[in-house]
Symmetry: C2
Subunit: 500 residues, 2 copies
């Protein structure tokens, strides 16, 4: 049957099927977004069931035998254009990965994720890992089963790592983190010795919630976030989600005693959102309409949060914007002071509030724990103990409780084991892209100082966003930076910035 | 195959299939809710596609041949309990109606509804029916096609009327409205003669949006709305939607120059929401977990909006609540004045702001227009002209523009032709239920005066909400009121209230 059909017709059939699946996945994303922003407490039960049904259906449709045959036949055609060819190639890769997971398992996982998420919210609120533990145990067992379904060599964690970041594995990451550990520790120690540790942080004052919210929306608007194709809301844990490139949502959380948390988290999510908004709309539902990889996604958020957002030029631009909303709190504060406080290196408890250097210890700690957990060398119940040990070992600090320890991140409640390493990878890619932009003589500094971000954004759109998944992570890095991933570039950047 | 399976197994299969379909339908409702509350402007296109996919899938699953066979087989079993039997009976009815509509048609309709809705929003904003007309023409053509698919006797409108209110048709409604017209006109004329028309309306002042919002949430909380299983948001047009009995959402709209609009619209939606929250949770996804009918749904909203909300006792309770939020505006206003202003009869332009009497002319006008439109006796382009004629004929007023005319309601943009009559029917049922409660000596008046609404709510839950679709509209009315629908009871109630 298929053999006698023209390639054009087959490809059209493929696009229609993929878009139908995308509709289900994006609907799922809407339900998840609502779950984390507006869902009434008791609505969680049926919402979990609804999410599971949508997830299961999307999986069923994508893994259907007819889809496999269609991809097989299209893959053998010689008259696809390069974009079509790449879509088919990527869909075949995704298909082969997806068929390894039975539909019933996908449903079970989705239901367990909902339960775990709600348990995590309560556990975090009540500052008690014990309330999360039983659900996390169930979830961990399922993730091990998932690793078995997906298959792996050497280490079960590899299956999950590869799922989030194609090609990544324990050996490779051990190498990267191993190479980073000593220079980074040395750098942190030097900075801690040299920096003025007594300077008061102007962002650690009382900033009322509603004024922060107004400031935040003003900031987004001045940065150029297009609210005709996106919006911002509040949630327990900041995130970005997308229902199409024309409807990208970010969330933030407000700490009334620190303006920095909301502000740089917003810049972070803005970077993610711009990436999603910049994906090619005509490829909706197809691989080329998706982001290259999680690490490249993270490079976009870390780029705006750190490389731009924590630069001297940005501080010069930002200060008057903050002052407009908080004239009292910011009285007498200089851009230099703002820059100092933003870039103060300080071993701390919370990953999302960490400085650019110590941040990676937070990631490495989670990486170690996940690796042990997946290998069966660590029981869920022992996570808090190991967490405390590692924070003391790497950062020299004592973790007072679960809320400031292993309950701080949402990821495990979502079953996202293997996700954290992409945060460090993303930071390294961000720095490499940033160095590239500077070499290309895009007048970033003057632009930033005058609040003109469109030139930089356009460059990123052209080099990264519009490419979708056309290039693999490594190839994209080469095409943008003329070399592959190299954490030494990050260390150089960090030395230049923190030990001037 | 089916014949050899036990009834218990078959019924379980039925429940699972129905719940899966319900998950899709409720997901669709979440996407619609989001569309009318938070969707960024440019997100509308893909959202339309996503809604169409979910709608089409739910339809496909429900109309699958296997579902038909399952229902057929279950319908022949003799060992179902009465609740199961009723579920199967109702599902068979729904199934037979649904299979008349091809899946492609359902998708087309869903896509056209999205287009029409967005055209309506813009047309209304710009006060120009011409901007809505092309989309409404497309939609009207589809609705005629739908009537043909569904089948009808005598009048194509009957197919749509029956779709919203099982058993209703043009002949029956002509009878009800015909019987009402003269007594209602006579009553309105008498009231207009007798009432003091110069009394100033204390609710027609400036009430800032944010204070109205705080008041509204306070009102809901004091009335007993459980925000653990529901919430309120703002939208262009107030509505109630449900994603399960444990997640029921209402919306409202704020007019800063009139406190009444938001307040009584909230009471109206609260009535709908309480009905949805009171449906039996264990019947999720099954007919018995659904509301009896649209007119009974409307009876619950009109009950709280009018029978309770516009009563003297309620005014006594409400006044201090309003005063707490608006001490300046309400200075010197008495409960009696509030009651007078709430129940002032005045022919007006906007249905949702109409008094209890003239309201029904608004409905009858829409009914006449829809009847002609479906019969092909009226072209879409001529709606504004006929609208103006009928408003002058029935209410003696001139319609200044489309916004205050045929663009005021969202319904046609949703393709809801045949829906409006359920509003009048609902009002009549509301009054009959209200008279019943009073006869049953539930101490409604003292309860209302002291803000204790739980007794009334519990009575409604017991007699109406928890029944789901177990009884048909007529049977439910008999079981609650000991007689069927009789608009004369409404006229009597109205005479007692408005010509004391």
């Amino acid at each position: 049957m298929l053999i006698r059909t023209t390639t054009g017709e087959l490809y059209k059939d493929y696009v229609q099927r993929m878009q139908r699946i995308a509709d289900l996945r994006y609907a799922n994303a809407v339900l998840q977004w609502d779950q984390e922003t507006y869902l009434p407490k008791k609505g969680a039960g049926f919402r979990g069931q609804q999410l599971a049904t949508l997830g299961e259906l999307a999986h069923e449709f994508f893994t259907a035998g007819t889809m496999g045959n269609l991809l097989e036949e299209l893959g053998s055609r010689t008259d696809l254009d390069p974009l079509q060819l790449r879509n088919i190639e990527l869909s075949k890769y995704d298909y082969e990965k997806s068929v390894k997971l039975p539909s019933g398992f996908v449903r079970k996982m989705s239901e367990q994720v909902t339960k775990s998420y709600h348990a995590w919210v309560i556990a975090r609120r009540q500052n008690s890992f014990a309330l999360f533990q039983p659900e996390l145990e169930q979830l961990t067992a399922l993730k091990k089963q998932e690793a078995d379904y997906l298959g792996y060599e050497n280490h079960p964690y590899n299956a999950l790592l590869n799922d989030y970041e194609k090609g990544s594995n324990v050996q490779w990451l051990d190498g990267i983190f191993g190479k980073l550990l000593v220079p980074l520790k040395t750098l942190v120690d030097s900075v801690l010795d040299q920096q003025q540790n007594e300077v008061a942080d102007p962002l650690a004052q009382y900033f009322p919630k509603d004024v922060q919210w107004a400031f935040c929306n003003d900031l987004l608007s001045q940065m150029g976030f297009d609210t005709d194709m996106g919006r911002q809301d509040l949630s327990e844990h900041p995130f970005t989600t997308s229902f199409s490139p024309q409807d990208v949502r970010i969330t933030t959380r407000i700490d009334e005693h620190n303006l920095g948390y909301m502000t740089w988290s917003t810049l972070h999510e803005l970077g993610h959102a711009w990436y999603e908004q910049g994906l090619p709309i005509e490829e909706y539902g197809l691989p080329l309409g998706e982001a290259c990889s999680l690490s490249i996604h993270e490079s976009q958020s870390r780029f705006w949060e750190n490389c731009i957002g924590r630069s001297p030029a940005f501080c010069e631009w930002l200060l008057p914007v903050i002052c407009k909303h908080f004239p009292e709190q910011m009285k007498g504060v200089s851009a230099g002071q703002l820059y100092q406080s933003l870039n103060k290196v300080k071993p701390s408890l919370i990953r999302t509030e960490a400085d650019e250097l110590t941040y990676h210890f937070h990631v490495m700690i989670r990486y170690e724990i996940e690796k042990k957990l997946m290998a069966g060398d660590l029981q869920v119940v022992d996570i808090p103990i190991l967490w405390k040990e590692l924070y003391f070992k790497h950062l020299g600090i004592k973790v007072p409780d679960d809320k400031h320890g292993c309950l701080q991140d949402i990821h495990w409640s979502h079953g996202s084991f293997g996700y954290f390493p992409t945060y460090s990878l993303g930071s390294f890619y961000a720095v490499q892209i940033f160095e590239s932009i500077k070499q290309k003589q895009i007048p970033t500094e003057e632009d930033i100082r005058s609040g003109n971000f469109s030139g930089i954004l356009q460059w990123l759109q052209q080099k990264v966003h519009t490419k979708g998944r056309f290039l693999d992570t490594d190839a994209l890095c080469f095409s943008v930076c003329e070399k592959g991933l190299d954490s030494a570039i990050f260390v150089n950047y960090a030395m230049g910035k923190f030990l001037p």
